[in-house]
Symmetry: C2
Subunit: 311 residues, 2 copies
C-alpha cells in the first residue's frame, strides 16, 4: 500500500515544496492541509490565496516566477473594476477570477469550503487532496505600527512593511478542523510542515482547536522544513515578523516553536551550526540544501525529507 503523506501548507514556499514532493511520491497519496487565515472577500467574492497557490501549483497552472496566480494571466476585469472601485490593490487575474466565481457561487449555495476546495482542485486536475484547515472562516489580523490590519491589507496593500506587534486569528476559537483534517493527521504515515512562515502561514492552522493536538498524538513521524535560512526568510516577511514578535529570526527558533510535536527538523546547510541545538530540543536535525531554486532542487529536498521520515 502506498504510504500516505500529509502536508501542512502556507503559500508559495509550501507550493514549491509540494511540486517536488509529488514527483517523489504518488500525488494521490498526498493530502494538503492549507491555511485559510489569508482569505479575503473582494468585490463580493471569497478569495483563498494560499489554497489557490497550492492548487494552481499542483495543477501546473501557477506562474513560475511570481509566486501567486496563474501563468499567462491577464487583468482586464481588474482594469475595468478601477472605473467602479478604489479597492483594486489586490491583483485578481481574469483566469483566477473564474476560481473565485465558482467557489463563491458554491459557498452561497451552502457547500462547505472543504467540498468547494475539492471540486476546484479536481476540476483543475489536481490528484492530491487539498483541504482547508477549517470550513469556518478564520481571519488573520495583525497589530502593527500602522494600526490593526487584516492580513492582505498588511501583506499586499502595505507590502508587508508595517512592523508586526501581535497576531490574532479571528474566529479560530470558534472554528473546527474541516472534515478530513484530523483524520489526515492521525492516519498519515508521515506528516510534514512545509517551509512556510510559522507565524502567519502555519500559525492559523494551529489556531484551529484540535489540529496541534492531533500532531502531538499522531503515530506518524512529524517533520518540518525550515522556512528560515541563514537568518532570513526565503520569501516573505517571516524573519522581520519573528524578530518584532520577540523570537530569534533563525531556523532554531522555528524548531523551538514546533518542539511539542516535531520528530525531525530539516535545516539548510547555511544553518549547520544550529543542528546540535535543534537536537537538544528533542528532535532529529537533518542538514541539507533547502533552497528550491529549480525542479532538481525541489525533488532533491523532497527525497531527503521522505528518506528522513522512514529512517
Amino acid at each position: 500500500m502506498a504510504s500516505r503523506t500529509t502536508v501542512l501548507a502556507g503559500g508559495i514556499g509550501a507550493a514549491r515544496f509540494l511540486e517536488g514532493l509529488v514527483r517523489v511520491v504518488a500525488a494521490d497519496t498526498v493530502t494538503v492541509i492549507g491555511n485559510t487565515g489569508d482569505d479575503l472577500e473582494l468585490h463580493g467574492l471569497t478569495v483563498c490565496p494560499d489554497l489557490d497557490t497550492v492548487t494552481y501549483t499542483l495543477a501546473g497552472l501557477a506562474d513560475p516566477a511570481r509566486g501567486w496566480g496563474q501563468a499567462n494571466e491577464s487583468f482586464h476585469t481588474l482594469d475595468a473594476l478601477r472605473r467602479f472601485s478604489k479597492e483594486t490593490w489586490f491583483q485578481l487575474g481574469d483566469r483566477d477570477l473564474a476560481t473565485h466565481l465558482f467557489r463563491t457561487s458554491l459557498l452561497r449555495r451552502g457547500f462547505p469550503l472543504s467540498e468547494v476546495t475539492r471540486r476546484v482542485s479536481r476540476s483543475l486536475g489536481v490528484e492530491s487532496t487539498i483541504l482547508p484547515m477549517s470550513d469556518h472562516p478564520v481571519r488573520t489580523w495583525l497589530e502593527t505600527d500602522s494600526g490593526r490590519l487584516d492580513f492582505q491589507t498588511y501583506f499586499v496593500k502595505n507590502g508587508a512593511k508595517p512592523v508586526v506587534r501581535a497576531v490574532e486569528f479571528v474566529g479560530a476559537d470558534q472554528a473546527a478542523p474541516a472534515s478530513g483534517v484530523l483524520e489526515a493527521i492521525a492516519q498519515a504515515d508521515a506528516v510534514i510542515v512545509a517551509p512556510s512562515n510559522p507565524i502567519i502561514s502555519v500559525g492559523p492552522i494551529f489556531a484551529v482547536p484540535g489540529i496541534r493536538e492531533a500532531l502531538r498524538k499522531t503515530a506518524a513521524p512529524v517533520l518540518a522544513v525550515s522556512p528560515i535560512v541563514g537568518g532570513r526568510a526565503v520569501k516573505g516577511p517571516a524573519a522581520e515578523m519573528m524578530t518584532s514578535l520577540g523570537y530569534d529570526a533563525s531556523a532554531l527558533a522555528v524548531a523551538s516553536l514546533y518542539k511539542d510535536f516535531l520528530n525531525v527538523f530539516v535545516l539548510d546547510e547555511a544553518d549547520r551550526e544550529s543542528s546540535a541545538a535543534v537536537e537538544e530540543l528533542g528532535m532529529r536535525a537533518v542538514v541539507c540544501p533547502t533552497l528550491m531554486t529549480g525542479m532538481p532542487q525541489k525533488e532533491a529536498l523532497a527525497h531527503t525529507v521522505m528518506e528522513a521520515l522512514v529512517s
Copy 2:
C-alpha cells in the same frame, strides 16, 4: 429650461436610438426606463443585459457590431470557467464582468437596483439617467414548443429558435416601479417608446403595475418608433414572436398594441401604406427612414422624432 425626454428602452434597438437622441438633445435631459425582465443570475452574479447594453452604448464602450457587451472585449474568465461549469453559454466578457461584480456586490449590501444602476452608469461617465423599470426582480419566462424557458435560455442558449406560445413576467404583479420611474413619465416633456420588441423588451416594463397607466395619464406627448419594418424585426425575434402569439408581424400591429397611450407612431417608409390605418387607431403617423445603419441615420431619426413631439 431644457425639456426632459423619457425613453422606454429594451436592448440594442433602444441603445442605437438613444445614441442618436443624445446627439440631438442634451444627454443629461434624457431619462431611460430600462427592461430588467431579461436579467439573470450567472455564477452568482446578477447580470442585466438590457440595462448594460444601454449603459455601455451611452458610455461609448459598446461593441458597435455585436449588439451586446463592450468593444475590444476578451473572454479569459469565461474560458477558465469552462473548467468548472457547463453553464458557459452566456458570453461574459472580462470587462463586462467588472460591471456584474460591482453591481452584485452592491445589491448584496442592500442597495436597490436603481441606485446600483445609477452608480454603474455614473462611474462609466453616462450623463443620462438610467432607471431599471423596477427594483424588484421581474423575470421573463416563455412557453415554447421546446418547453418553458427563461428568457436568456430561449434567446442565447437556444438562439431564439423555439416557437413562443405564451409569455409570462414572473414577479411583475408583486413589483413596483423603481424610484423615479413614474415621475420621469409624469414630469417629462416627451415620452418615447424606443424601437424595441413590444412583447419581450417593452412588455416587461408595462407588466410592472402603474407604468402603463402613467403613460396614459401623462400630459407629455407619447411617441413610439416601430421596431418592425416591412414585416420584419430590424434585429431579433420580434416578428416571429408576434406571429406565433397571434398578432400580425407588422408596424400597424405594434401601433395597435400601444394605442391606449400613444399620440405619435413613427413607421418606416417601407410601411408607408400602413399610415392611414395607424391614424385610424387615433394617433398621428409619421413616416421616415428608421433603419439606424450609421450615426447620420441615428441622428436623423432622433431629429424627426423630436420634431414630431413638438409639432
